[in-house]
């Protein structure tokens, strides 16, 4: 009696809810090597962090991807075989069950990681044909062919394509004459892929409102006398916690077939102080006092400066603020982030004392009138006006 050699696919784990892809930084073992359970086999990097993939079980590891190639979360990055010299002939043939590689480093806080769906063999084949991954089936316990085909149809109808795992692979082709390649960090490549994904299908629109900067400064000074010195960003983040509950369309995202709003308000803020762009997140912003917001911001910025921000610190954002108010930039258009319907930009004051709040939003989720109302309510809070009854 012959017994089949079993091959176990090693899947890319979800490190946070906002990342669809990871890039292979390096392999720690050669294809064909024997590894023990929990032995690091590769280092991967997302927009949020780098992490080591550990073998979920012992065996002989096989892989074909090379460093700087991208893989989707939930996709197979390697295989573990029970015997040497027996790489899987076909991804579909010998599948036993998907195994998410264990991760060295910050603990994952994404729901997908603890609730990874399983797929039937046929469904897995169809998923690959359509470029879908396990990350596309959050909340589904067992993925069946029908589930895959329904999602593929919905995405095609909305012309929201899903890129294949290797679509963003770095090309090694020679640059055209008169140009030279710019070596980009893995995190930049992932960011590029995430932004491309965010804008695939989105209908970005931007509205701007001017605020009376001296009034904002005076209000900030009054609050600083009560709470200690505060920054404009901290004031804005706190105000967003009060305004966003009235605008769920700006605290959600569009899947291509459905409009969703988040049940939590977790506002991220972009930081770029010489250590690459990061977006740490203030969780449950709407439940924090101004002083608590300030403490959280400072805690996160301290961790940013020490390069200690974890994936958890930067995951689960539902709305983002980009603050260029200290950079002498009086106008810019913020970009939408993946799985978010709006981003707020803070501009520096002009010579006439006015400064702009700029909101980029996905027009599939909201419209210009609503965005303007959102900005008016935010402005009122920043300038120290009493909010309208029933409002923020």
């Amino acid at each position: 009696m012959s017994s089949a050699i079993r091959h176990f696919p090693v899947l890319v784990p979800c490190t946070n809810a906002n990342d669809d892809r990871a890039i292979i930084v390096r392999w720690h073992v050669q294809s064909g090597d024997h590894v023990e359970a929990e032995q690091p086999i590769a280092t991967l990097e997302t927009t949020k962090s780098a992490f080591d993939l550990n073998a979920p079980r012992g065996g002989y590891v096989y892989y074909s991807l090379t460093p700087r190639e991208m893989v989707d979360v939930g996709a197979t990055v390697a295989w573990l075989s029970e015997q040497p010299g027996a790489p899987p002939q076909s991804a579909a043939n010998d599948l036993v069950s998907p195994e998410v590689a264990t991760m060295e480093g910050p603990a994952s806080d994404c729901a997908e990681a603890s609730d990874t769906p399983r797929a039937t063999r046929k469904a897995l084949q169809v998923m690959r044909q359509h470029g879908l991954t396990f990350a596309d089936f959050v909340g589904v316990t067992t993925i069946r062919v029908q589930d895959v085909e329904e999602l593929a149809r919905a995405r095609n109808a909305a012309t929201v394509g899903v890129s294949s795992a290797r679509s963003a692979t770095v090309t090694s082709a020679s640059p055209p004459q008169g140009t030279e390649l710019i070596e980009q960090a893995p995190s930049k490549l992932i960011e590029m892929a995430a932004l491309s994904e965010a804008y695939r299908g989105a209908v970005p629109s931007t509205v701007t409102i001017s605020v009376d900067h001296p009034r904002v400064a005076a209000h900030l000074e009054r609050l600083s006398n009560e709470n200690g010195v505060l920054s404009l960003l901290e004031l804005v983040l706190h105000a967003l916690g009060r305004v966003l509950p009235h605008f769920p369309e700006l605290n959600g995202y569009h899947t291509g077939s459905a409009a969703l709003h988040y049940t939590s308000i977790n506002v991220g803020f972009a930081v770029n102080a010489g250590r690459s762009l990061k977006v740490p997140v203030i969780r449950t912003t709407d439940r924090l006092t101004l002083r608590e917001v300030a403490r959280t911001v400072r805690d996160l910025v301290l961790r940013y400066m020490r390069e200690e921000l974890s994936a958890a610190d930067m995951s689960s954002g539902t709305f983002t603020v980009t603050d260029l108010s200290t950079s002498e930039v009086v106008q810019f258009i913020p970009v939408l982030n993946l799985r978010q319907s709006a981003t707020l930009g803070l501009c520096a004051p002009r010579l006439d004392g006015s400064s702009d709040l700029v909101l980029t939003f996905d027009h599939r989720m909201s419209d210009g009138m609503q965005a303007a109302e959102f900005l008016r309510e935010l402005r009122a809070l920043l300038e120290g006006d009493d909010p309208a009854p029933g409002k923020a």
Partner: protein, 83 residues
């Protein structure tokens, strides 16, 4: 300078490293009176203090340190020099 104040030169070094000669180091200097003491500079000052003394600060420390006097106090407490 007494033994209890021996860390003050280290604080001044961190201050100088962060603000250069743009701000004068004195006990009554307050953040709100010093436009150059921005929120980013504040965090950079704390990081410089961490490196100078091998300490760690958190968001609450950053919020409480609103002037040089409170910086001296917080650093002193973390070093066990102030009760």
């Amino acid at each position: 300078m007494s033994e209890g104040q021996s860390y003050i030169p280290g604080i001044e070094r961190a201050f100088r490293k962060t603000f250069g000669r743009g701000l004068s180091f004195r006990a009554d200097l307050e953040r709100r009176d010093a436009p150059a003491w921005t929120s980013l500079r504040h965090v950079e000052f704390l990081i410089a203090l961490e490196k100078e003394f091998g300490l760690r600060f958190d968001g609450a420390d950053a919020t409480d340190m609103v002037d040089i006097r409170s910086v001296l106090d917080t650093v002193g407490k973390k070093l066990g020099r102030v009760s």
